[in-house]
């Protein structure tokens, strides 16, 4: 069984630094990491490998500059079998449609597969749209917000998915696309064997030509959306900051605040 997982390299967002005077992000000071939510996609794929109990080959796929190879090696160190990087200057500036289109083109070229697994979203763009968009373009069913893998065989997968009003148990015919959330389980750490394998594995690279794509269908040119402007929200609310003398006083302030808003 072939399983593909999608991973993305993102800025280490926890450490975003803002220039106080200009209000802009200090990008040069930011390091790049594997999208933290993609670790759960890898974990989900590894759980499937254990559950299926037969040969499962996991291939990690990423799109980005050649530096993004790092996240594929990280995925291999965690237990994935191989990595493919979609990389070409022409892919730059892709929105979620153009990204999905490029990945869909690759997947059509590859071997038969049973499942494509993604994280819930990337922590930089934060759209969560690539999984369902890819499913639409490949005409596959998509199951989102997967919190537990219950069962899998060659025909179908049974999963639990978390929605606002409860938990659904869903049976999906394969091949399919699944996006998993953090509740899937703690991602396992890279092993020494995995790290050695990651070092020695050759990452396959696909560019525009190898995918036989047209420049106007990918990257910024192939993207239906355009960024009009980027601006920086004012995060300061200039609220009151009160040092309370005792907990009763704190409760007075809090209840007063709730009363003003008609809540209590």
């Amino acid at each position: 069984m072939n399983v593909y997982i999608l991973v993305k390299q993102v800025p280490a967002t926890d450490k975003v630094k803002i220039d106080e005077t200009t209000g802009t992000m200090k990008r040069e000071e930011m390091e790049a990491v594997i999208n933290p939510l993609d670790l759960y996609a890898i974990e989900g794929a590894l759980q499937i490998k254990e559950l299926y109990n037969r040969d499962v080959k996991i291939t990690a796929i990423s799109m980005g500059p050649s530096k993004a190879e790092e996240v594929l090696r990280e995925a291999i160190a965690m237990g994935c079998d191989s990595g493919i990087l979609l990389s070409d200057r022409a892919f730059a500036g892709a929105d979620t449609w153009a990204t999905s289109y490029t990945i869909a083109t690759l997947i059509k070229k590859l071997n038969d597969f049973s499942l494509i697994i993604t994280g819930e979203r990337a922590t930089d763009g934060e759209t969560g749209q690539v999984g369902p968009s890819l499913a639409g373009q490949l005409d596959l069913p998509v199951v989102t917000y997967v919190s537990k893998i219950v069962d899998i065989n060659e025909e179908y997968i049974i999963v639990e998915r978390e929605v606002e009003y409860g938990v659904e148990v869903v049976k999906v015919k394969l091949p399919a696309v699944a996006s998993v959330i953090k509740a899937i389980g703690e991602p396992r750490l890279p092993t020494l064997r995995g790290k050695i394998k990651a070092r020695d594995t050759k990452i396959e690279v696909y560019n525009l030509e190898r995918l036989a794509l047209k420049r106007e269908d990918v990257g910024l040119l192939g993207s239906p959306t355009r960024v009009v402007k980027i601006f920086y929200p004012k995060i300061s609310r200039n609220g009151e900051k009160i040092k309370v003398n005792n907990p009763e006083e704190a409760a007075d302030y809090i209840i007063g605040f709730l009363q003003e808003r008609g809540i209590v």
Partner: protein, 328 residues
């Protein structure tokens, strides 16, 4: 046929969900600017109270009635909506940034090739071009981006729930209801085997008050005070910082922040949370924020409307007692 703005209404467990009315409020604003018809799409089976969509702003309701539409299924929704969109050619389609909207909208946009902007917090119409301007936070709320879809139609967006008040309910408002009985020819590859409804309370995204705790609460037992306080406040839910979720104090479904949920309740109460960017990203857009922290320099105070410098472990029991007294 006149031009239209569509909102994709949301039906949960057989009832029109409130996010539908928020979408109608956005849709009314946009369709008035464009001088076009505002239509609500509702997909369900034996749905009651369809008029409500008109009372809350729709000029027209397209109600798709079929037993297979009783629960959300992305392929079935796609099979019904895609031909309908191709035929009616709406200018704009809005849906909630909910588990349903975030699944069906990219699926449709992927199939028909058009632009889709996720999780918008503000919408407007560009002067002269009449294009939809979609503003959304990105990179952990550090940046706001305004996005448009210049060359493709429909222009699609998911809209963050609780970002806009519904219009005043007007039972005299005119509107028409078109009932459509779609032929559903596909054999869905997905099947709902079981559903476990949430046992109590509202979902975090729907809560009017969210009270969240961080590692300042010291241990899981203190954290459980938040649940006791939440029970005393109507329409409230309990949130948590990533740290305490990672420590196993509370389930992931409570996590607020960049790798958790984004909430914007009427009041967000952050207790013993220092306010890392990771957390702020998930709650910064709340209507109002109360922060309780011992450390006067904690970054959470920068986003708070009311900052209480004090010991949460002393304050929470008193707050709980005072709320109980008010209940009596």
């Amino acid at each position: 046929m006149s031009k239209e703005v569509f909102i994709l209404g949301e039906v949960r467990e057989g009832r029109i969900h409130s996010v539908t009315y928020e979408l109608l409020s956005w849709g009314r604003y946009l369709s008035d600017k464009l001088k076009v018809t505002l239509s609500a799409l509702l997909l369900s089976h034996n749905l009651k109270g369809i008029d409500e969509a008109i009372y809350y702003g729709a000029d027209r309701v397209y109600y798709f009635d079929h037993s297979l539409l009783k629960v959300f299924n992305v392929e079935v929704y796609g099979d019904v909506l895609i031909p309908f969109i191709k035929e009616t050619k709406p200018e704009i389609i809005l849906a909630g940034a909910t588990t349903i909207g975030r699944t069906i909208m990219p699926y449709i946009a992927g199939k028909i090739k058009t632009g889709l902007t996720a999780d918008c917090t503000s919408l407007d119409i560009e002067e002269n071009s009449g294009l939809l301007l979609q503003t959304r936070p990105a990179i952990g709320g550090n940046v706001l981006a305004t996005i448009k879809t210049p060359l493709y139609k429909p222009q699609m967006a998911t809209v963050r729930p609780r970002g806009r008040r519904p219009l005043e309910r007007d039972i005299k408002k005119d509107g028409s209801i078109e009932i459509i009985k779609p032929d559903i020819n596909i054999n869905p590859k997905m099947e709902l085997l079981d559903f476990k409804p949430r046992l109590e309370g509202v979902s975090l995204e729907d809560a009017e008050i969210v009270i969240s705790g961080g590692k300042g609460l010291k241990d899981p037992k203190n954290f459980s005070l938040l649940f006791e306080i939440s029970k005393l406040l109507e329409s409230s839910g309990v949130g948590a910082s990533r740290t305490v979720v990672d420590m196993g104090w509370v389930e992931y479904s409570h996590q607020v922040g960049l790798s958790g949920k984004t909430v914007n309740p009427k009041v967000y109460i952050a207790v013993g949370i220092s306010g890392a960017v990771q957390h702020l990203a998930g709650m910064m857009d709340s209507e109002s924020i109360i922060a309780i922290n011992k450390d006067p320099e904690a970054p959470i105070f920068q986003v708070a409307d009311l900052g209480i410098i004090g010991d949460a472990l002393e304050i929470l029991p008193v707050l709980k007692r005072r709320l109980e007294e008010r209940k009596r």
